[in-house]
Amino acid sequence: MIALASLTDTADKIVTNFGVDWPMFIAQSVNFTLVALAIWFFAFKKILSTINEREKQIADSLKNADRIKLELEETQLKQKDTLNEASLEAKKTINKAQEKAKSLLEAQKEEARLEAEAIIAKAKSAMELERQNVLKDAREEIASLVVLATSKVLDRELNDDERKRFTQQAEKYVQQQ
């Protein structure tokens, strides 16, 4: 009790010496608490939530950035594959076209050869036809000449008896209609 009383005395002395004004102190404490509460409710909370949000956003962005990086890598791989495929297809098409061109060339060569043969055959047959026509004309001329010559010769050479004999022969073979 004495200690306590001495402590209290000391405290009183300290307070007296250092000037703690208990009513003031309590009033100040109350003020401080009120202000602190006001600040906490109207400002601090919002600030904290904003800070939290910002932190979250930053964290998300970082995550997205990673994901985008991954996707970019994948896309680049796909692009490469597509280009490879396309170039393969192009190569195939070029090969096909080249083959087709080759076969077309061969076909055209064959066509030209056949056409040349056809022209030659046509010319040959035209010549043959010409020859046949000439022979036909010659044959007709010769036949006409032969008949003309025969008739002239017979007219001159046959005597009356021979003519009579022919006529009698002709009479013999007459048949009634």
């Binding site: 044959r139 010769i142 209609q177």
Partner: protein, 510 residues
């Protein structure tokens, strides 16, 4: 020269020379290719009469006091008072396979400068048509290669199908396309080695045509390689009317040889209007009484006896056929004229070509409403029947609805769909000249149309699409086309192959 004298000597040795017996007359009048002869008491109707300088005539008018003969050939050397002699023969023309690839006149004499025709047989120009018993109904298709015709107005072997229209509407083009298609099919069939394959041989009779037109036709046939299956009988406008009158009968005789020897033939008469005009000229000069439009009274018989000779014979009579495509030219679209109505009543259907459609760019300008084939789908392969069955109806509906197409925004979906489909079908049927399409390719194209492959393509791009599809089918789609050609049917597997082929094509068609 030795060969000639040997030939002559041989002929003289084998010659049997008898006395000659003939019935004679004297020419009392000569005008416009007709001679009036007094005498000839024993001449018979249609008998050949011989005049001086190897001029022949045919006795057409047997009157009490004279005989009227139409003269064939050059008559400038004849005069009044000349003698005329009967020959005891009817006018005959050479017939047989030797005539293929040749151009001849109405008497069967070659005029192409390729030498004489070594025919083994001769048929007389006027013959009696087959009766009822030897005939069989038409059941084999004759593919013209023209989609508009093969799908909606199919022609069969042994049918008579009239091609009628105004001048410059594409009548001859349809006939020539048909001939070219037969040649293509013949070549394909011969290469396939199929023993049951029956080629179709063609005869084109040009009556009263310009020489330049005939020359152009010959050129087209030669360029397309069709000439080796064709005989051309030419009686151009410059020929005397007797030749123009006889040419169709001569051509028919040549076609009958094929029919009676178990083969199939196609004959085109281009055109019968000029034939009727030539007959009218002869009749008027022979002073026969004239009737409507100055035509003689038997102008119906003129064409009926010609067209009745085209028939399909049954197996007992060789199983051959002669298909006729007569062509008639109308004036100002008047199908109710004398000659057109006559021939329409004789034939088994008509393909009517309209000038309006032609001018609109729809070529071939076939009027679907007025055209008909009385043989119908009996002359179509099963595959084609399946895809083409509804087309005529769809086009008819399209025509009905087309009047409302200006109110397109107010129409319901079903009507719009019909209009779209109809417009696409009209575009699909457009075809360039001398470009017949094989039946299997036609089937594939129509199948594509029926299965909506063309619905996403603009109407004005349909022609291009059809051409592109045609090219695709001739190259990459050969297998599926062969399947259709060989089987003649559209099995499920074929349809699947067709679907994948068309899908492939559509991807490449931008």
């Amino acid at each position: 020269m030795n060969s000639i004298t040997d030939l002559i000597r041989k002929e003289i040795e084998t010659l049997s020379v008898d006395a000659s017996r003939s019935n004679v007359g004297k020419v009392t009048m000569l005008a416009d290719g007709v001679a009036r002869v007094e005498g000839l008491s024993k001449v018979m109707y249609n008998e050949m009469v011989e005049f001086p300088n190897d001029v022949l005539g045919i006795a057409l008018n047997l009157e009490e006091d004279s005989v009227g003969c139409v003269l064939l050939g050059d008559t400038s050397s004849l005069k009044e008072g000349d003698d005329a002699k009967t020959t005891g023969k009817l006018l005959s023309v050479p017939v047989g396979m030797e005539l293929l690839g040749r151009v001849v006149d109405a008497a069967g004499r070659p005029i192409d400068g390729k030498g004489p025709i070594e025919a083994k047989e001769e048929y007389s120009v006027e013959r009696i048509a087959p009766g009822i018993i030897p005939r069989k109904s038409v059941d084999q298709p004759l593919q013209t290669g023209i989609m508009a015709v093969d799908s909606m107005i199919p022609i069969g072997r042994g049918q008579r199908e009239l091609i009628i229209g105004d001048r410059s509407t594409g009548k001859t083009t349809i006939a020539i396309d048909t001939i070219i298609n037969q040649a293509k099919i013949n070549k394909q069939g011969e290469q396939s080695g199929n023993k049951d394959f029956r080629p179709v041989y063609c005869i084109y009779v040009a009556v009263g045509q310009k020489n330049s037109n005939v020359a152009r036709t010959i050129k087209v046939l030669e360029e397309t390689g069709a000439m080796e299956y064709v005989t051309i009988v030419s009686a151009p406008a410059a020929d005397n009317p007797a030749n123009q009158y006889l040419a169709p009968y001569a051509g028919c005789a040549m076609g009958e040889w094929f029919m009676e020897n178990g083969r199939d033939a196609l004959i085109v008469y281009d055109d019968l209007s000029k034939h009727a005009v030539a007959y009218r000229q002869i009749s008027l000069i022979l002073k026969r009484p004239s009737g409507r439009e100055a035509y003689p009274g038997d102008v119906f018989y003129l064409h009926s006896r010609l067209l009745e000779r085209s028939a399909r014979l049954n197996e007992d009579n060789g199983n051959g056929s002669l298909t006729a495509l007569p062509i008639i030219e109308t004036q100002m679209g008047d199908v109710s004229g004398y000659i057109p109505t006559n021939v329409i009543s004789i034939t088994d259907g008509q393909i009517f070509l309209e000038t309006d459609l032609f001018n609109k760019g729809i070529r071939p300008a076939v009027s679907v409403g007025l055209s008909v084939s009385r043989v119908g789908s009996a002359a179509q392969i099963k595959a084609y029947k399946k895809v083409a069955g509804k087309v005529k109806l769809e086009l008819a509906q399209f025509r009905e609805l087309a009047a409302f197409s200006q109110f397109e925004s107010d129409l319901d979906t079903a009507t719009k769909a019909r209009l779209d489909r109809g417009a696409r079908i009209v575009e699909m049927f457009k075809q360039t000249a001398f470009n017949p399409i094989p039946v299997e390719v036609q089937t594939a194209i129509m199948w594509g149309m029926q299965n909506d492959f063309f619905d996403s393509i603009d109407v004005d791009k349909i022609s291009e699409a059809v051409t592109s599809l045609k090219d695709y089918l001739s190259a990459q789609g050969k297998e599926v086309c062969n399947e259709i050609y060989q089987s003649g049917k559209l099995e499920e597997s074929t349809e699947q192959n067709l679907r994948s082929a068309l899908e492939d094509w559509k991807r490449t068609f931008a």
